[in-house]
Amino acid sequence: MAADRTASAPAALTQATGATRGTIGESTLRPDGTLKVTGEFAYSSDLWHEDMLWGFTLRSPHAHAAIRSIDTAAALALPGVYAVMTHDDLPAETHYGLEIRDQPVLAKDRVRYHGEPVAIVAADHPETARRAAARIAVEYEELPLVVDEATATAPGAPLLHPGRRDHHAAHAPHPNIVHRQPVLRGDVAAARARADVVVRRDYEVGMQDQAFLGPESGLAVPAEDGGVDLYIATQWLHVDRDQLAPVLGLPADKVRLTLSGVGGAFGAREDLSMQAHACLLALRTGKPVKIVYNRYESFFGHVHRHPAKLTYEHGASRDGTLLYVQCRIVLDGGAYASSSPAVVGNAASLSIGPYVVENVDVEAIALYSNNPPCGAMRGFGAVQACFAYEAQMDAVAAELGLDPVEFRQRNAMSQGATMPTGQLVDSPAPVAELLRRVKALPMPPERAWEAAGGPVDVRALPGGLSNTTHGEAVVRGVGYAVGIKNVGFSEGFDDYSTARIRLEVIGGEPVALVHTAMAEVGQGGVTVHAQIARTELGVGRITIHPADTRVGSAGSTSASRQTYMTGGAVRHTCEAVREEVLRRGRERFGASHPAWAEPARLRLADGKVVTDGGEVIGDLAGILGDEAIDLEREFRHRPTEPFDLRTGQGFGHVQYSFCAHRAVVEVDTELGLVKVVELAAAQDVGKAINPLSVVGQIQGGSTQGLGLAVMEEIVVSADGARVRNPSFTDYLIPTILDTPAMPVEVLELADDNAPYGLRGVGEAPTLSSTPAVVAAIRAATGLPLKRVPVRPEHLTGT
């Protein structure tokens, strides 16, 4: 089994055939599908080495405490234990971080959040490692807590990172504020004076977790050259490596990462979790070390979605024109910065939603606190704002006596509109149309549980099989929402991706090998790359090389950017390969046909060189012979620029994506139970490279939004900032019983700036599904509901 899985022989990793199936726009099936349904696909937690040890992490029981001493002797004395490491054993740099290197590999003299890693152990059995960790004696002295804006900025508040010198520190209004971004445009005071209707409300979004199923895990193998090879589930191999090399005290080329199977990500694998720990233990013991978090640890091992407190004021004229929006968004970033600065930028710049508003006054901040660290999660800063602005749109429409969809449509942005940041929306923005489409879908039948005159089918009722009701107090509501999300990395980030393509003839048949460092986390990038290469090169057999750091960076599998960016890189590299094919063809066969002199007229199809008139003038087998073409190219999207720190003005985003939802819910008002009956979506994807995957992404994203609406929240105890529900028993994610039918309408309005006109898909559906579900619950119950998740007690007033 080992022999056919070596990383050095990628051709042997695949089974390819000559079928030319699956070009751009077709619902090609996943190339890894068979392995995944047979149990053969190797996820990071499945890796095994005959000589390996198991790593385990000791974590802080306190949210804020000084460490007085650590005694590891009893742990080391346990038979089977090979190493115990604390902060004092670190070989080099002691901190890492995505934007700001403020996170210790192991806590030194202070812990800042509940669950922070304090020591690591390697042993020959996972249970031995756990028992050894339990024998490490740590003396703590609890410190006062910072848990919200008031405690963070109070006079004399403990500073999370005293003496911080990062690039945001200079303009942060307080050392416990990671970053602040205002967006100012027009004259809000004057607009307020003209407004007929003003609605001001506070909202709150709880701390959501990505809750991917495949736990944080990986295998670090010490190498003979003193370096380390890490097999890991991550979202961005190169940024992991760039953070790891300094803390391991190794040059970057001695830290080699290879992607192993990833069981979902949703942002939670952007930051390091066990990577450094596994590598440190492997280098210390000289043996391969595997770490697999259990679910409890996983809740401490990654950042969460920022919980938020939001204050919004909307003003509108009697005719239904939105005149101004003033808002303040306070995001709790927890103990370390992670990607909080970028989350602030998104929340601020997208805070008004997909609407045209001339006058805006926005402020978004992220706090440092002793709560769990928060960072990237699907929707990244736009989710929190969308919940609030969409609730506001309903509230203003109600004040005006207008239909909520019509009110949105009247103010909807379209191509040519100006964002509050001053950026021109220069590609299609079919906001009104998306709303029209979800509204036009047929409604699910009412009270389906009592249909056909038979006995009541409790499975279709709120409460389901618990048999809590036969429908006596069940009322229905319908709600709508729409959102705007940026695609790709923003604010001047040098966002690029790399692809390497090798075209050669094997057994008389052309074969293309696509090598990128893109993290396939389940989204289907590997499918799309094969489709693009097949389309561009006219080659049936495509092999996907395992993702590793031996090729240039692909950037992160986040921000809905990989089909755009690494897909773009694959296309761009294919173009270079095609040019080289034509150059070689011209050199060898140029005299045989006049069309060789006009490469613009030639394309590759079915392994042949074909003129625009359809005439075949050569074939790849003849042109290439036994000489491969092997090229690597980078692809960049158009440059963006940072937002002005005082006004928020600037061309900050590459592309926007839009999704609208209609939710239909039934609520048992006696018990406070909600059943989402249907969640319909309409989204513009620019170009559906793989329609089946696109629909799957929209449904998956919608479901995570539904989860935030009615059940998902990490509960942190108010007194001690301790996580109270780190398990799937207590942190609930939607099951198949909680998830309704999800019809999806897909629009394809090309963005001329993007490869194939495509638009990033993955995140937009997560935005609007939450406010749509809550709007439907409001419609059913008449309750204001200003906080998510909505819990039974919010509905019953208990």
Binding site: M1, Q15, A16, T17, D32, E40, G263, V695, F728, I736
Partner: protein, 213 residues
């Protein structure tokens, strides 16, 4: 302790098993069968669903000793299990139907270095030489093929558990209603798909199998 379990029709034994080890741990780490997944190890997610004497259970909640002398079917044995079932019933799965899609697509495996691989037996081992190795192209169970065809697999971490549960449902209820499917799969979490395509897959498998008999 020593544990003897018949897994996917083959006898296995594992030595030096700790009292606290779960069936899931023994399958994954000692017998080299990592197909059953470890997403919560608390009986909450269904990723580790296997059949124990025919009954779907969370392998993470079964102590290894409880499985002594019993029959286990994991996702690795699902295709064989389905094949045996279909030879016991009136008609076999149509040749060229489910499974026919397998040869049309390139596969992509996550990389593993030499000497590192998933699922190599630790201290557990098959009692008899293995008749076949993974990687051989054998027809998939109808429900496996349907999951691929319907787009019900994204990251795929939930897939093995869902497949075992769905296959058991179809064995009991060849033509399930949507409510039946939801009920049967309610113990299996999926974070990626939103379940709609999983429903599609089970409906598709039911339709295809129904046509075959």
């Amino acid at each position: 302790m020593r544990v003897n379990i018949t897994v996917n029709g083959r006898p296995y034994e594992a030595d030096d098993v700790w009292e606290g080890e779960s069936l899931l741990y023994v399958l994954r780490e000692r017998m080299g069968l990592p197909g059953s997944k470890n997403a919560c190890e608390q009986g909450e997610c269904g990723s580790c669903t296997v059949r124990l004497d025919g009954v779907p259970v969370c392998a993470c909640l079964v102590a290894a000793g409880q499985a002594e002398g019993r029959e286990v079917v994991t996702v690795e044995g699902l295709a064989d299990h389905a094949r045996q079932r279909s030879t016991h019933t009136a008609g076999a799965v149509r040749p060229g139907g489910p499974g026919a899609g397998r040869t049309g697509e390139p596969e992509v495996r996550p990389a593993e270095p030499e000497a590192i691989h998933s699922g190599e037996p630790g201290t557990g081992h098959p009692v008899e030489p293995e008749p076949s190795r993974p990687g051989q192209v054998a027809p998939l169970a109808p429900v496996q093929q349907a999951f691929i065809d319907a787009g019900a697999v994204q990251c795929g971490f939930c897939t093995p558990g869902l497949l075992v549960a769905a296959d058991e449902l179809l064995e009991r209820t060849p033509d399930p209603s949507d409510a039946d499917i939801r009920e049967a799969l309610s113990g299996n979490l999926c974070r990626c798909t939103g379940y709609e395509k999983i429903l599609d897959a089970v409906r598709l498998a039911a339709a295809r199998t129904g046509k075959a008999v």
